[in-house]
């Protein structure tokens, strides 16, 4: 915290008649290791530091960034940016009211990742890499990525908010690839949380690696799925992926001010009446698991406390995900979804932990979800995804596919893709289980406007009447 500096900036802003100013002052530490086929491809240590200043003058934003010692130059750039913004504005930015908050939050690490030597981190990654190999040499390629960061940031606003937060992330990602001739099959597994190196005491990463290895090998031997339309059951990873990529992105308030398939649908039914869509930044732990969810935080990057947001409740679109400006625009409550990757990034609306659940009294057991589909496909291990929220279309990777015959899980099929239309799919959900998946295995980084944000988390199985599988 550098309160003197913040006050100097607030004084400069006051002279320019700013109605609101915020400063994000960051000093973040990073370590990463990438291992490809047993070789350490890269190992990086670094620190990211600087300030980002945002002012609101005459209904228009100005934003600029740089190093702290050049704060006067940065402020001049902010004012130039605001003038340009004003020139282009056809409407006034207003901010939803929030109470100023003074807080200091240090999210703990039982074993601080920054205190662990590179040697120990390297040993972990190389040990997991070795475990991905098989005796019959079917696994021909492996890729692992280890990452830890300690995000240290102060948010200071001219309204009196002053929040210092330390938020640690630790993450390991592994992909074994089995190969036979020109045919290949990859499987992915992850272990990560908001916390320290203790994740590797709590999670058996070798078991997770073994599971991925077996899936890669078995999938290689399996036949492919004929591309087409199928009734499907999605596991918790694909529930998370659909909820996040397809439904969640389509409800982001900043984007919806411009366009989108869910624009104008507030308070309207957009899904089956037992469907809830949740985005919850306050979800620290999932019952039954000890790892913090990847989308957990106390405050967003405008200093707004995060909350459990019911985006869709009993099939009805109740709110959009908002920052303070989009909340005011749509006359909604700020949901604490404003996030910025770095001090140099403009804060935008992002998700936290996003999933679909069954409304009260409609929770099904996994076997009940399965029984809703007589003949179709069980799709597991979602990975990667892309959505076009204007057209309302999406495309996901699926790591494991089983045929369902007469309500029973049958033959394994090769990895494939899943695509469809968001609004149509929301209306075709037949049933949901609320049995949440392990949050440490359901960690991801979401990309939007060139910024990356850690998000979670795995949810329960869900049955969908019809989706397009394979290309």
């Amino acid at each position: 915290m550098d309160e003197d500096l913040y006050q100097k900036i607030f004084k400069l802003a006051a002279k320019e008649n700013a109605v609101y100013t915020d400063i994000r002052d960051e000093d973040t530490l990073y370590n990463s290791i990438e291992v490809v086929d047993g070789k350490v491809e890269s190992s990086i240590t670094g620190s990211e530091a600087g300030i980002g200043i945002r002012v609101l003058i005459d209904g228009s934003w100005g934003f600029a960034f740089g190093s702290k010692e050049n704060y006067k130059d940065i402020f001049s750039m902010v004012i130039n940016a605001q003038k340009t913004s004003k020139k282009l504005s056809k409407s006034e930015v207003k901010l939803a009211d929030v109470k100023p908050i003074n807080d200091k939050v240090v999210i703990g690490q039982k074993k601080k990742s920054q205190d662990i030597s590179f040697e120990e981190k390297m040993n972990l990654v190389l040990t997991v890499d070795k475990s991905l190999k098989d005796e019959e040499n079917k696994i021909k390629a492996t890729r692992l990525m280890y990452f830890d960061s300690l995000r240290r940031q102060t948010i200071a606003t001219s309204e009196g908010t002053m929040i210092y937060e330390e938020r640690p992330y630790t993450f390991l990602y592994m992909i074994p690839t089995a190969k036979k001739g020109t045919d290949t099959n990859s499987a992915g597994a992850r272990a990560g949380h908001v916390g320290g190196f203790d994740i590797f005491d709590e999670v058996d990463v070798l078991e997770r690696a073994e599971n991925a290895k077996i899936r890669a090998i078995n999938g290689l031997e399996a036949k492919g799925v004929k591309p087409g339309r199928y009734p499907v059951v999605l596991d918790g990873t694909l529930n998370f992926l659909f909820a996040h990529e397809a439904a969640g992105h389509s409800t982001e308030g900043d984007f919806l001010r411009t366009a989108g398939v869910l624009r104008g649908k507030l308070q309207k039914r957009i899904a089956s009446d037992f469907v809830n869509l949740i985005d919850d930044g306050s979800l620290e732990y999932v019952p039954g698991y000890t790892s913090r969810t990847f989308g957990f935080m106390h405050y967003d990057d405008e200093g707004v406390p995060v909350e459990r947001t019911e985006i869709i409740k009993e099939g009805v679109l109740k709110t959009y995900l908002t920052d303070r400006a989009s909340a005011a625009y749509f006359n909604l409550k700020p949901t604490g979804n404003c996030r910025a990757e770095f001090y140099s990034s403009i804060p935008i609306v992002r998700m936290r932990n996003t999933y679909l659940e069954a409304s009260k009294g409609n929770d099904l057991k996994e076997e009940e979800v399965l029984s809703l589909i007589k003949n179709g496909l069980l799709l597991k291990y979602g990975g990667g995804g892309q959505v076009d929220p204007i057209r309302g279309t999406f495309n996901f990777g699926v790591g494991e596919v089983f045929e369902i015959h007469n309500g029973e899980i049958k033959d394994l099929r090769k990895a494939t893709t899943l695509s469809g239309n968001t609004v149509e799919t929301l209306n075709k959900i037949m049933g949901l289980s609320n049995k949440m998946a392990d949050p440490s295995a359901n960690v991801g980084f979401c990309g939007k406007d060139g910024q990356s944000a850690p998000t979670g988390t795995g949810a329960g199985w869900m049955a969908v009447k019809m989706m397009t599988v394979g290309g």
Binding site: N31, S42, S43, I44, T45, G46, S47, E48, A49, G50, G62, F63, A64, F65, G66, S67, M77, A81, T84, S85, K87, L88, S91, S117, F118, E119, M122, K140, A141, T177, K179, T182, D183, T184, P227, D254, R257, T258, A259, V261, R263, S344, S345, I346, G383, G384, Q386, I390, R391, T393, N395, F396, S419, G420, N421, E424, G450, T468, G470, G471
Partner: protein, 486 residues
């Protein structure tokens, strides 16, 4: 008070500090980038401007690399990160394939003259251009401006290594994109234009306006359809090598020396073999003066060059840096990249690794019109989604996109939700026509390419969705309500 170094002081101090600690070799890199981005989503502007500075070091100790970076230019922070980088080099163990950092070369460096006019472009003049983009789109009947961005980025970089390499370069990126939505037909649709280059002569707002309007008009009144067949597909240049998802970008990854070295590609040990149809030529051109990614030297100081990767269908070489060049018994062809330079990341934080600069596919002997005329039934595709989920080791892909239905040699109508799948090695042998026309992209030059036959599916919107769109169309046509989608 802690002294804050200038970039040159930080570089010099870090190099000396690393050498004092008896590392085998050290490479230092500084970058100052001055960025202005003006975005407007519908009528909401967002301006991002700032100066990024930082220093990074790649140290070699016990025959392996460690990499570190910082934006805090103090003695203490620089010493601290270099010590950790040395520790991480030691943790890796000796790498027998590492020989040395690049030496000073006798090869010549292509010179790129920095266009000083870029320094006089103000955010105010960018705002004038943005207003022109918005107004021009909104002036076209049935089109509505959706979003756009104009950017200018000026980079000053300095690279040194302990073998005597000492290079500086000032470069720039100037360009933008525009997107518009069309309300013609039952289903609203949008499209976009992207333009840019390294100097003022390579970007004009009028070209971007024309491209955005033209692309959106031809995307108007799309349909959805049920379709499941193997048919010819014409890839537009954007679908073949576009920055937002070009299919042949998977091929570039498969031809990267690191993939080849580990056998994680079908193209290991394939140099000299016919891997594609004879008319296919695939090039990475690091010195194309019209491209935003062109520069004199790569991330480790080796001169950039124009490299023919596949010539007349025969694999000639791979994308190589000094490490993988040495490991494969070949010479680096200047493909080491700090992926941040106009690649969406950050050059300071990016460890040097193999990456293409500007990909090119040579023109063929058909015209675009002939390609369409010779297609009995198929699709022409422009934008693809899901490319990042492709399996680069095999080249298997399954993507969805937007394009046009072709029947009996004529383009019939635009179609949403077209899905195509296949394998890149098969696809290279499945190309039957390449156009004479080349379309320059932000990071590519590419013709239209027809694939003879490829599994293709499409899906019609269900009755409920079509009914809803129909009602909306009537209500908006009668001006009873505004279209809520935009």
């Amino acid at each position: 008070m802690t002294k804050i170094f200038t970039l040159d002081e930080a570089l010099e101090y870090g190099m000396k500090f690393a050498e004092k600690t008896n590392v085998q070799a050290v490479e230092g890199f500084t970058n100052k980038s001055v960025d202005t981005e003006i975005s407007v989503e519908k009528n909401i502007p967002s301006i991002r401007t700032g100066v990024s500075t930082g220093v990074s070091f790649r140290v070699v100790s016990k025959n392996n690399f460690g990499f570190c970076f910082t934006r805090t230019l103090t003695k203490e922070r620089i010493e601290s990160i270099i010590k950790i980088a040395i520790e991480n080099a030691h943790s890796k163990g000796e790498d027998p394939d590492f020989k040395s950092l690049p030496e000073v070369t006798k090869k010549s460096y292509q010179e790129f003259k920095f266009d000083k006019k870029l320094e006089s472009i103000t955010s105010d003049s960018l705002a004038d251009d943005m207003t022109k983009l918005i107004d021009s789109i909104n002036d076209v009947k049935g089109l509505h401006y959706l979003q756009g961005q104009l950017f200018i980025s000026i980079l000053d970089s300095h690279l040194m290594n302990s073998n005597g390499i000492n290079l500086r370069e000032k470069s720039a990126g100037y360009g933008g994109f525009g997107a518009a939505i069309t309300t013609k037909g039952l289903i609203p649709n949008y499209s976009y234009g992207i333009k840019g280059g390294p100097n003022t002569s390579s970007f004009s707002i009028d070209d971007l306006i024309d491209e955005t309007i033209e692309q959106t008009l031809r995307a108007a009144a799309p349909k959805t359809m049920n379709f499941e067949k193997e048919v010819p597909i014409i890839l537009e240049p954007e679908a073949a090598l576009g920055v937002l998802g070009g299919l042949f970008r998977i091929l570039a990854t498969q031809l990267s020396g690191n993939k080849v070295s580990s056998g994680a590609t079908p193209y290991s040990d394939q140099i000299g073999n016919q891997v594609a149809v004879e008319k296919f030529n695939f090039i990475d051109n690091g010195i194309n003066p019209t491209k935003i990614s062109s520069s004199s030297f790569d991330a480790e100081g080796i001169p950039k060059e124009k490299t023919s990767l596949i010539e007349n269908g025969v694999l000639k070489t791979y994308l190589l840096d000094s490490y993988y060049g040495n490991k494969l018994g070949l010479e680096s062809n200047g493909k080491s990249s700090r992926s941040g330079i106009f690649g969406g990341g950050d050059p300071i934080k990016s460890v040097p690794s193999i990456g293409p600069s500007s990909l090119e596919i040579s023109p063929g002997d058909s015209s675009k019109d002939e390609m369409i005329e010779e297609t009995r039934e198929g699709f022409m595709v422009r934008s693809l989604m899901g490319l990042h989920m492709s399996d680069t080791s095999s080249g298997r892909f399954s993507v969805t996109g937007f394009g046009w239905y072709i029947k009996n040699g004529e383009v019939k109508y635009p179609v949403q939700e077209i899905a195509i799948s296949g394998m890149i090695p098969d696809l290279l042998k499945n190309i039957d026509l390449i156009s004479k026309e080349i379309e320059p992209g932000l990071l590519s030059d590419c013709p239209y390419i027809r694939l003879a036959s490829i599994p293709t599916t499409a899906k019609k919107f269900d009755l409920k969705t079509r009914f809803g769109l129909g009602v909306l169309k009537i209500l908006t046509s009668l001006k009873i309500m505004k279209n809520p989608m935009f």
